[in-house]
Point group: C2
Chain length 344, copies 2
Amino acid sequence: MRAAVMYGAGDVRITDRPDPKIHRPTDAVVRTVLSCVCGSDLWPYKSMPATDTGRPMGHEFLGVVEETGADVAGVRAGDLVLAPFTYCDNTCDYCARGLHFSCRHGGRYGFDGVDGGQGEAVRVPQADGTLVKLPVDAGSALLPSLLTLSDVMGTGHHGAVTAGVGPGDSVLVIGDGAVGLCAVIAARRLGAERVVLMGRHTTRTDLGRDFGATDVVAERGEEGAARVRDLTGGDGVEKVVEAVGTRQTLDTALEAVSDGGTISRLGVPQYEQGPVGPSMILRNITLTGGASPARAYIEELMPDILAGTITPGRVFDRSFTLDQAPEAYQAMADRRVLKALITL
Amino acid sequence: MRAAVMYGAGDVRITDRPDPKIHRPTDAVVRTVLSCVCGSDLWPYKSMPATDTGRPMGHEFLGVVEETGADVAGVRAGDLVLAPFTYCDNTCDYCARGLHFSCRHGGRYGFDGVDGGQGEAVRVPQADGTLVKLPVDAGSALLPSLLTLSDVMGTGHHGAVTAGVGPGDSVLVIGDGAVGLCAVIAARRLGAERVVLMGRHTTRTDLGRDFGATDVVAERGEEGAARVRDLTGGDGVEKVVEAVGTRQTLDTALEAVSDGGTISRLGVPQYEQGPVGPSMILRNITLTGGASPARAYIEELMPDILAGTITPGRVFDRSFTLDQAPEAYQAMADRRVLKALITL
């Protein structure tokens, strides 16, 4: 089969890889229908050392079950299914606590002999725990929005949930990437009255306004934090979703959050050390967030997509074929594309 | 009046200061009955640059109201009252959110012309918001335990509350100082089944066992964290109260906490930067805690002291007169005394 494989920074190729087969009785093989490129795929695209073996890419996909192992009972050949961005048993104590990223039998696509999601097919371990049958057919116009439940919408939702967003809240979302925009949807969905979106790409922040952002702050750093404080009565906001992952955006979050507030981080930090000294304690600031248990949120969020109340699929602003995947990476890295859909 | 004043590291003197008077109609003057030395008083005792003016010390005290300003309605001359470690209006939006340390009309004893608590009398601003009338007389044997509600017991409670401790939990408390020991009381009081106390001073950890610690770990650093993981099934504990404030104890907390766990910090950090990089995100670790809203917890905790169900006053292992306050500081700095009571 053909699949996108990264061989180093800036070097994504479509290569032939072995057709996936059932290895374990808990596996399923899924023929990919839709995949996409994640903002987190751009970090290795910028920095991965060159390698001969390459790394199969992609962790967001939906497709049709082709074959199942003997122990798989929840899905069968022909089912249209969605896969969250890590596989998981969905039954261990970590999964029970909503920590699917830490699942005792879980793992990541593209590692440990498991295919990536940007390819024609994927062997999915722990198929019963991982895959969710979709109540639409493969021709549904809702597929892009449903695909966001694999990662980006579940991740935005995780930010709003861990920040403690509830009815009437004011929330700051830092970052106008696809995760930030989904965090806007999630914050509004959870009842936030005011959602300030920090971003400077007008087409993205316009989409953020469509998603429910009430204010947009284009300034960055101290200037941006001051603007947020001005907008929210001077004290800053109680709930911040930090959807970028740089030290600058963490600093901005700390400057914009009010005493007693919560900062939820979603982006994988591009730093090791951060300012967690006396001021954070004296101001009672909480730092939370993390890798979303996307699997756990699918059942909660899917009805809103089916009903049309949320339309996170709008983050996909351009569609590519699998052969065009290298171009999709470059377009996202150049910020010409917000989030690239890959159709198979 | 006489009061303890710090003039630099290791230099606490009993000096004459002006008798407190009512400055504002919201003030009260309280004649001190009991005060004490806080672990946080030891940081300036170790590092404060020498000064001619000096800093009045102490922020934990109870005493008898001597005089009240025209606007004070809640307490009157002759009342035995307890003061939390910062004064506050107890009505502003921050106080309403349980953030008394950030009170819009609040402040700290020993700063901005306000007396310290280690002296014969204190002018207490915002008396109605700050002072709580005690339902015992000045001869009560419960006074030391009631005094802990001024700071140390409320602070330990804040750690357990912000760590999210509830029935059946396993909790790690790092530090066998008075705050750590009060966190043990608080964790058990909130229903924790297992409380692992990390400390190496046997007399203190023995008191911790009396307070409800189920396990004591004397090892520090990586070795200590490994021991905690061994004791708790290998994955670490979900709730950690970090009651020391060094980088080493933060590292220990991060090593001992399980994926998805919460670390609540109570000690003022003796560091500015901490490890909040990718591992914290991928493991979904939450960092919380802060300065306790002691005022907010008094009503909740006092009944347990009056009923004798908790006895936090046992952290006071030696009593000093005000004239002996310099000696009390040195005894605590030398770890000869756990927490020094000052009687007036």
